[in-house]
């Protein structure tokens, strides 16, 4: 699952870091670090994190089938 976070929009609420700690983590007080390609077993957590983001900064793409462009 591919992820990108609009870090202009991100304000460090850290909801994602609570909901999917293996994918999103805070570095220092408010800088977010994330894994742009999340393992499939994290998909549900990542979806929840994206939904919970107070500023809706997280964009997720479910794994597309081969050839889908």
């Amino acid at each position: 699952m591919k992820i990108v976070v609009d870090l202009n929009r991100c304000q460090g609420y850290a909801q994602c870091a609570f909901l999917a700690p293996q994918v999103f983590e805070m570095h220092g007080e408010e800088a977010l670090r994330y894994t742009p390609l999340a393992p499939e077993d994290q998909s549900e957590r990542v979806r929840r994190a994206a939904a919970a983001c107070p500023v809706q900064a997280i964009l997720v793409e479910e794994e597309a089938g081969p050839g889908v462009r």
């Binding site: 591919k2 304000q11 460090g12 570095h27 408010e30 889908v68």
Partner: protein
């Protein structure tokens, strides 16, 4: 007429962030014609900001930063091939293999590339890197994994500073050489430049400002060190050249479009100008390669190297490519960017270099938690936060409404002193790092300064 715009052939040159977001927006807006994406790199669109951060830290593989899609774009992708020219009369794009791609409307989003080390022989030494592409990041991360004894970073702009930060976090010794008086000074001015310098020193960076690297030395084709303009030498087995970016406009030299070192000039609706300053109606521009007028900054043409601008400008360009005149929109977004380095989150809105004064409006340099507000002739033009991102939205509104500078005292986090000081933005010519925000004057047809790096 409008129905025609939703059909036909659109070619997008540049298959990175701006190109992808434009393609998605074209389909969102109901474009049902043929869409061709041309990209010089062989990868599908990927995200660059993680390359100087998570990838260099060894936490994410360089090939794993592919950009998620907002939707399917139904495009034909021509990747790994460079565009070499455009014929605006015959309306086709020319590719490196000689193929001619006819278009009805063209979007140019060819972005920038890393400025190489000026001496090609030295630049070819094993151990000398630039950082722009996913391949660059993969090679550099691999070299960091091998545990070099010292890394030399040449240029202390955002990229150079983030690389130095990654080195220290990995426990690697790093020297940063910068011709200007402080890191980040070209984008943020003197006050925050001084903070950046203190931060680097506190994290164990061997920071050398006011010097240039006069030579890279090698033995048997491998980098061994560098000589600095103050006569000192350092030993290093890796050097990262972070001298800023060059706009990919050379391929447009014979096109008759207003393309130069500062980018391809366009109007507020992303339509490219030709070399006589006449606006075209079928060639559009977006992202780092665009040079566009902004009403908040006296309609000066801006050249931005910002993730957010690439997205927003691509969306406006795409909208305008498939809508008739009266329905077209201007690209008016307030410039914004972020950087994380040495544990701090730095965010900016507006154009800090479009300023004569700056005031710490909240927090303090000592706490490393603050908002600096920039003013130009008595109005607010930018704000930069360090670990205070939640406040920026407020200042963005003040920028958008041309609110008076200095700002009213904030409700919380009032600083000890709120006297504005000169913003101290140096002439970019005096810096090693190129400006990521360039104010480039008013004339669309000016090809502008050719930057020569003379060491």
């Amino acid at each position: 007429m409008s129905a025609d715009l939703k059909n036909g052939r659109i070619v997008v040159v540049g298959a990175s962030l701006a190109g992808l977001r434009a393609a998605e927006k074209l389909r969102d807006e109901g474009f049902t014609g043929s869409l061709t994406m041309v990209g010089e790199e062989s990868q599908l669109p990927y995200d660059r900001p993680p390359l100087s951060k998570q990838v260099l830290l060894g936490r994410v593989r360089a090939e794993d930063t592919g950009l998620p899609r907002r939707r399917e774009v139904g495009a034909q992708w021509k990747l790994g091939i460079r565009a070499t020219g455009v014929d605006p009369i015959g309306k086709h794009l020319v590719l490196a293999d000689g193929e001619q791609l006819p278009y009805d409307r063209l979007l140019i989003a060819t972005g920038t590339r890393a400025r190489p080390w000026p001496n090609p022989g030295e630049g070819a030494l094993d151990g000398v890197f630039t950082l722009r592409t996913s391949d660059d990041a993969a090679r550099l991360a691999e070299r960091f994994d091998a545990g070099p004894r010292r890394v030399l970073v040449i240029g202390a702009g955002f990229t150079g500073s983030e690389i130095a930060s990654a080195c220290r976090e990995r426990g690697l010794e790093v020297t940063v050489a910068e011709r200007g008086p402080a890191p980040l000074v070209g984008a943020l001015g003197g006050a925050l430049g001084a903070l950046a310098a203190r931060l680097q020193l506190a994290h164990g960076v061997d920071l050398r400002c006011g010097v240039t690297v006069t030579a890279l030395n090698g033995r048997n084709g491998r980098l061994t060190g560098a000589e600095l303009s103050d006569g000192s030498r350092i030993e290093a087995d890796v050097a990262v050249v972070a001298l800023g970016a060059m706009r990919n406009t050379e391929w447009l030299a014979a096109s008759g479009l207003a393309a130069g070192p500062r980018g391809l000039a366009c109007d507020a609706g992303c339509r490219a100008f030709d070399m006589y300053g006449i606006v075209t109606d079928d060639v559009f521009v977006a992202g780092d390669v665009a040079r566009f007028p902004h009403p908040l900054f006296e309609y000066q043409m801006l050249s931005l190297e910002h993730w957010g601008n690439a997205v927003e400008q691509a969306e406006v360009a795409a909208h305008n490519m498939v809508n008739p005149g009266p329905l077209r929109r201007p690209h008016l977004a307030v410039p914004a960017f972020w950087s994380s380095q040495f544990g701090l989150n730095i965010k900016s809105v507006g154009v800090p270099t479009f300023s004569d004064q700056v005031v710490i409006a909240q927090g303090s340099l000592e706490e490393r938690r603050l908002v600096a507000v920039y003013g130009y002739r008595g109005r607010i033009t930018a704000a930069v936060s360090v670990n205070r991102a939640k406040w920026l939205e407020h200042y963005q509104r003040l920028i958008e409404t041309a609110a008076p500078f200095p700002p009213e005292p904030a409700a919380v986090d009032q600083p000890a002193s709120s006297t504005p000081v000169p913003s101290d933005v140096p002439d970019p010519k005096l810096l090693s790092h190129g400006p990521t925000v360039a104010l480039t004057g008013h004339q669309p047809d000016r090809r502008l300064t050719l930057m020569r790096w003379s060491g």
